[in-house]
Symmetry: none
Subunit: 226 residues, 2 copies
Amino acid sequence: MTNPLTDRQRQVLDLIERHIRTTGVPPTRAEIADALGFRSANAAEDHLRALARRGAIELTRGRSRGIRLIALAGASADGASTRAGLDSAALDLPAIGRVAAGSPILAAEHVEDRYPIGPDLFHPRADYLLRVRGSSMRDAGILDGDLLAVHAAQTAENGQIVVARLNDEVTVKRLRRHARWVYRVELVAENPDFAPIVVDLRQQELTIEGIAVGVLRLGLAGPQQL
Amino acid sequence: MTNPLTDRQRQVLDLIERHIRTTGVPPTRAEIADALGFRSANAAEDHLRALARRGAIELTRGRSRGIRLIALAGASADGASTRAGLDSAALDLPAIGRVAAGSPILAAEHVEDRYPIGPDLFHPRADYLLRVRGSSMRDAGILDGDLLAVHAAQTAENGQIVVARLNDEVTVKRLRRHARWVYRVELVAENPDFAPIVVDLRQQELTIEGIAVGVLRLGLAGPQQL
DNA sequence: CCGATGACTGGATAAAAATACAGTGATGAC
DNA sequence: GTCATCACTGTATTTTTATCCAGTCATCGG
């Protein structure tokens, strides 16, 4: 018995599961709409009704966040198998420095070091640490030289801080997306000195490399100044 | 060393767990009040605050049903007590939440959790993680809720970020001291909204508890906003 | 071409929830 | 005796949240 779910419904279902795992509570209609870029919470409502009709979830009328997952039979589609060569049972994480153009982030020559940090400290799990260059995310508390804990993923939700590759350059920004924008996304800095980067997907290729799940700053010791 | 929870608090905690198990979502304040017979939802609110202070749950401000169970230490306190005190050879660090007035920072009841991070990652070595409250060090990239890696020390140098105790309150600030000042030091916030605290050592006792050696931020995952 | 279905926008509204404020007793420490 | 903490009552007020209504556009089977 395969799933009669549509792709979009599958995405909504995955989002619900992810939301419960990361926040402890199911999402509201508005949160679903925001995460998937809908401009109306009613779109989320429609999806929930459809999922309930198909038996994937159970809704409790009138109760806020009254969404319950039923029998998680199928494996989720979202990039579960992509962690190539990463030991999930490891107690440490590789730190990635400057990434050369054209090569994958996790290529061995990019690994500067390994740090004794449990990957499962973060939710979702961190796959590597990326050394941040520049101050474009300053107001999000991510400073030059910080190590960003990254969960490797090919997709991200509106509002998340992502590691993206644009024109073969790797950058860290907040992702902005709307349902109305078909060929457009924005990479927004968290610092008024930097303008948002508007990406036209018909002209430029944008690859999501992962989502930020934490920050680690070492070397706070010395009496250095900003 | 049993739970620092009172009987009533334990009952509330059990109820929350039961509610999640049976309905799939955490309870609201009104539902807690109703289940335990309170006539005011505010009674539930008070209990939740107390449980959060003790690290049994985590509350998300403004989010309906934003209650999360932390580290299910087990219903009853079994013989195997948790590692209290200072294991130097450990691979993890204790995280300290709110520090009660008059008691030492590393007292067992302040330990919210332990995180798998090698103490030697930091220089000098970190002895514990302190959960930062407030935004007074915002411009140093230390945000509300961050975990500050702290090296226990009784002295610090000018310009270092320190964990200090003043009037029995623990605070994180940058230390300012000049050779010319004999009885004076300043604790400077890294945020223009906070004025520097000028300390006259003849009148107030200032204790250095440690110096900041790093920052760790978890929970960067969800699409939450600042 | 028609009607059903999926995937939405936009606006409105009532109910549900969080949370602030002001109190009351009781208990135990100092 | 005073103070802090716990365990509440009661009243507001503001946000959140669920949910309804009225449409639009595209696709697909018949």
